[in-house]
């Protein structure tokens, strides 16, 4: 009865407002759905593929890190439990891991000479934060045509779609569609959120996506993988996305393992309580 009332009211309003019919297109931000990628770390039992995260670190180190910082990451994190270079021998103190020591040693870290106070560069240590490519934000912008390369520490959590979004952006660069005016220093990417309506020639269909200031960073063969994995654009993108997924959530494996035990405990506990409940209430009519 009530629903019928609503329907009648809506119909009445529709008839009254009929002459005002307007089918205007709404300008809005759009982006393509991230590509469907399968990850080893999906699901309640999924774990990171260590070799993949190692390759991903190499992509970050050799390509991304020339512009993008990762301020929440320390080299020691690479050797901690769940990390790509974890070695049970150094579980107690990942700073002792020789692999990470040598990885960090290859990187120059800006520091201050503790005797003179002069600015110096020294080889990195596992306890150092990932080296920041720029001393400050204006320097980062000045080197990138005014755009600020975002910190990548939690990038895989800071965008809808997570690692699939990262993969889609890196592999998603396409030639701009006909009729699109691309400003200097910008690149069209259908997976980047944006509103293309004002960049299209009149009457052209407005495509999904937006402009990104980062030129396509990866190409086939850009990074040489030590384990023989073919260095295609797709492989590089997938591996670096997996690395960023690990970096954004380095305790994911510990969380899932702990959770597995907690779930079993709670399930048994619930069953026991249920039968206790049935037994205690056996003689009460309710």
């Amino acid at each position: 009865m009530l629903r019928k009332g609503f329907a009648l009211a809506a119909l009445g309003l529709a008839l009254l407002a009929g002459p005002l019919f307007a089918g205007q297109a709404l300008a809005a931000t759009t982006e393509a759905e991230p590509k469907d990628v399968h990850w080893s770390f999906e699901g309640p039992l999924g774990k990171f593929d260590k070799a993949q995260v190692q390759r991903g670190y190499k992509v970050y180190r050799e390509v991304c890190s020339s512009c993008h910082s990762m301020n929440l990451m320390y080299y020691r994190n690479l050797a901690q439990k769940g990390g790509p270079f974890f070695d049970p021998k150094y579980a107690e103190n990942p700073n002792d891991s020789p692999v990470v020591k040598s990885l960090a040693h290859d990187i120059q870290i800006k520091d201050i000479d503790s005797d003179t106070g002069d600015a110096i560069s020294r080889p990195g240590m596992p306890s150092d934060r990932f080296a920041n490519p720029f001393p400050n934000e204006p320097a980062a912008r000045a080197s990138n045509g005014g755009a600020l390369p975002p910190d990548l520490s939690v990038m895989a959590k800071a965008r809808e779609g997570g690692p699939a979004y990262v993969y889609s952006i890196l592999t998603g660069y396409t030639a701009p569609p006909k009729g699109m005016t691309v400003p200097a220093g910008k690149y069209y990417n259908p997976y980047m959120p944006g509103d293309m309506s004002s960049f299209m020639a009149k009457g052209m269909k407005v495509p999904e996506g937006g402009f990104i200031s980062m030129p396509p960073p990866l190409v086939d063969g850009k990074v040489t993988f030590d384990d023989g994995t073919k260095s295609t654009l797709q492989n590089q993108a997938r591996d670096v996305a997996a690395f960023l997924a690990w970096a954004a959530d380095p305790k994911a494996e510990e969380r899932k393992t702990f959770g597995f035990g907690a779930m079993i405990y709670l399930l048994i506990f619930s069953v026991l309580l249920y039968f206790s409940y049935k037994r205690i209430w056996k003689n009460v009519a309710h």
């Binding site: 009530l2 005002l20 307007a22 305790k251 206790s276 009519a285």
Partner: protein, 439 residues
């Protein structure tokens, strides 16, 4: 019910203590022998679940406060550091952040249960009002807490909500500046929000004490809504309800654990993993899911002040509900017409939540261009939220008073123990037998 105590001191110490501070007598009468209706169903277990959640939030929160840094430059990273470097920090932070959602989920079930069984009616008005106070404090606490990680949604949410106060004529802007501790949401704001976020849970705990006190004077309502008439109708709280509540708590914890361990970010917004930046406004500023219905009401009207009044009015309405309801029958089991309006009201709240999550101009049915009505498309979420907000208020201010006067309720059972009538199946049969009484 709180009148006569059955406690008997068992030894010398208990006798000594009982004449000085009858603490054990109080505990015994409150959680051991307290006579509780024997027909409470699982919807009645959420009070216990809520006590647990409050304790959980306070304990995890105290630990988080040991590691959190309330400074605009460090807050975001300090939360990340808790998740990365503090021992079991990922667990404590996950329990706390998801605990807020679980707390609200439980409180909403608790409130809808209350509305269904008419538990707010005499003599439990004070109990209900105290519950509304707790809910209001919870909203405040959750809002302050959401600002602390200092992500994009934290910051811009704080800007939107504090700016609402600016809608008050003449003094609004002065009050907003005073609340901010400056001319924008900044370090001073973050610091005071942290301070208040730590204070309010203890105020909630205090009001919960009053809430339980107010519960124990008239005793529990029950699904039939009829008063307890004899000891036949009740069982002692322990062990009957400790075990039933315990079972329900354990099942609730499984749901909680699924989020904490496997979906830790499912209820949050990706934008809150970006450090707050006052110069970049996120595309859609949305509150956490549990405040979306009120956000929809706020945005339903084009006038800011009117929106603020309506939003607070939506909560204020709850406080006067006991006096809006004219029906003497508590439980909706025996009010077949009102029950339909109740179920529509429940769906309506969910619709409001969806409206709050969408941009006002988004189309409800995609692909249908619809009609322009007034300032917006009839097919847009802003119109849907207007209709839903209207029903929200109509439910309390029109339907509830009118239905109590006009509907013919079904026969209530004489007592909780009257076995045939008190059973829902029997009640349904009774409804079918007298269709002419349906409103």
């Amino acid at each position: 019910m709180s009148g006569h105590s059955t406690y008997e001191p068992k030894n010398g110490f208990e006798r000594w203590l009982d004449t000085r501070l009858p603490l054990l007598r109080f505990a015994n009468d409150t959680i051991i022998t307290f006579p509780t209706p024997k027909n409470l169903n699982y919807w009645y277990t959420f009070g216990g679940i809520l006590s647990l959640m409050l304790g959980m939030q306070i304990v995890t929160g105290i630990i988080l406060a040991m590691h959190y840094v309330p400074h605009v430059d460090m807050a975001f990273n300090s939360v990340q550091r808790i998740k990365r470097d503090v021992n079991f920090g990922w667990l404590i932070q996950g329990l706390h952040a998801n605990g807020a959602s679980m707390f609200f989920l439980a409180v909403y079930i608790h409130m809808f249960r209350n509305l269904y069984y008419g538990s707010y009616k005499a003599p439990r008005e004070v109990l209900w009002i105290l519950g509304c106070v707790i809910y209001l404090l919870m909203i405040g606490t959750a809002f302050f807490g959401y600002v602390l990680p200092w992500g994009q949604m934290s910051f811009h949410g704080a800007v939107v909500i504090t700016n609402l106060i600016g809608a008050i004529p003449i003094v609004g802007h002065a009050i907003t500046t005073w609340l901010w501790g400056g001319f924008a949401v900044d370090d001073a704001t973050l610091n005071r929000f942290f301070s208040l976020h730590y204070l309010l849970p203890f105020m909630i705990a205090g009001v919960v004490g009053l809430h339980i006190w107010a519960l124990h004077v008239p005793g529990n309502n029950n699904p039939t809504g009829v008063n307890v008439t004899s000891t036949q109708d009740t069982v002692p709280f322990h062990p009957y309800y400790t075990v039933k509540d315990g079972f329900a708590i354990s099942v609730f914890l499984i749901l909680y654990a699924v989020f904490v361990f496997y979906l830790p970010d499912a209820l949050g917004d990706a934008a809150n993993y970006i450090q707050a930046n006052p110069l970049v406004t996120p595309q859609h500023i949305v509150p956490e899911w549990y405040l979306l219905p009120f956000y929809a009401i706020l945005r339903a009207v084009p006038n800011k002040l009117a929106g603020v009044i309506l939003m607070f009015g939506a909560i204020a309405t709850l406080f006067v509900l006991p006096w809006l309801d004219t029906s003497k029958v508590r439980s909706l089991r025996y009010r077949p017409t009102m029950r339909w309006y109740y179920f529509i009201f429940f769906l309506n709240c969910i619709v409001l939540g969806f409206c709050g999550a969408h941009a006002p101009d988004d189309l409800v049915i995609p692909g249908v261009s619809g009609l322009q009505l007034g300032d917006a498309n009839i097919n847009s979420f802003v119109w849907l939220s207007r209709i839903a907000a209207a029903y929200y208020f109509a439910y309390f201010w029109v339907i509830t008073p009118l239905m109590g006067l006009t509907e013919t309720p079904l026969a209530e059972p004489e007592s909780i123990s009257t076995p045939v009538l008190s059973h829902p199946a029997a009640m349904l049969a009774g409804a079918a037998a007298s269709p002419e009484k349906r409103g």
